[in-house]
């Protein structure tokens, strides 16, 4: 692996890690259900970009595109179902705060 490709990959790796860190932080810190979903989306986007960069470096764009399309399909399904769950929670509790979801606790 020559120097320029390594440099290219590591620049992207640093920024992708920053993106993933923002997503993790969002999921850990937030108390709003919709914002937790946004954090999940940011994590998903970091993974997608990593796929694309690696596919470009190794020259396997075809395989990577198939993987990315599968990832996007799964992402949409997760968002739709999680959005439905969030709306059901809102109908029941009139709130989106995760601290109000402790009815089953204890």
């Amino acid at each position: 692996m020559n120097g320029s490709i390594a440099e290219f990959f590591w620049v992207f790796a640093v920024f992708i890690s920053m993106l993933a860190f923002a997503g993790f932080y969002c999921i850990l810190v937030t108390r709003n259900l919709i914002r937790a979903l946004i954090g999940l989306e940011i994590l998903n986007k970091a993974v997608t970009l990593l796929f694309i960069v690696v596919g470009y470096i190794t020259g396997r764009q075809a395989l990577v595109q198939a993987l990315v399309i599968t990832t996007i399909v799964i992402e949409v399904v997760i968002i739709v179902v999680a959005g439905g769950v969030i709306m059901s929670v809102y109908r029941n509790d009139e709130s989106l705060d995760v601290r109000n979801l402790r009815n089953l606790k204890g």
Partner: protein, 167 residues
Amino acid sequence: MTNLDLILLILMVVAAVWAVMARSLLKAAIGLAIVSIVITIFMFEFSSPLAAVFELSVCSGLITVIFLSTIGLTRPLSHKELLALARDRGRRYGFLPLLVIACGAVLAFLLLKMPLDLEVAKNTIVAGAREVLWNARHLDLFGQIMILLAGVFGAVLLFRENSTDEW
């Protein structure tokens, strides 16, 4: 690696941090769409046009619409509640830009100090994206169909009317 790439990467991280920190959820959804658009540009640049079209239409189109409708169907916080939460929010989210920059700086420093030696073999088989997508996959297509069905049934189950409760 051009300067434009670097600017786009910085824009992407700033939009992600904005999506996490924005007070209004609508602005957060728009920040997410900006991240998605930047990733689409990278996909076109790295010769993955099929994935780029999917990302542009689905991730920055459909998912933004789903987010906006979810936000619209739930009641946002009132101004008074927002003010009460403002100090708490500042305490919780204020460190995020610093932490993200610190994370990037530490990683960049580590990689400059001790670069990992990656062996990357160039692939000799060059197949078209369509061929891989439709001919090179067998069982995982069933998995994908199952996931789509799970999504459809999940949505049907969640949005069922109350009158058909018992079954």
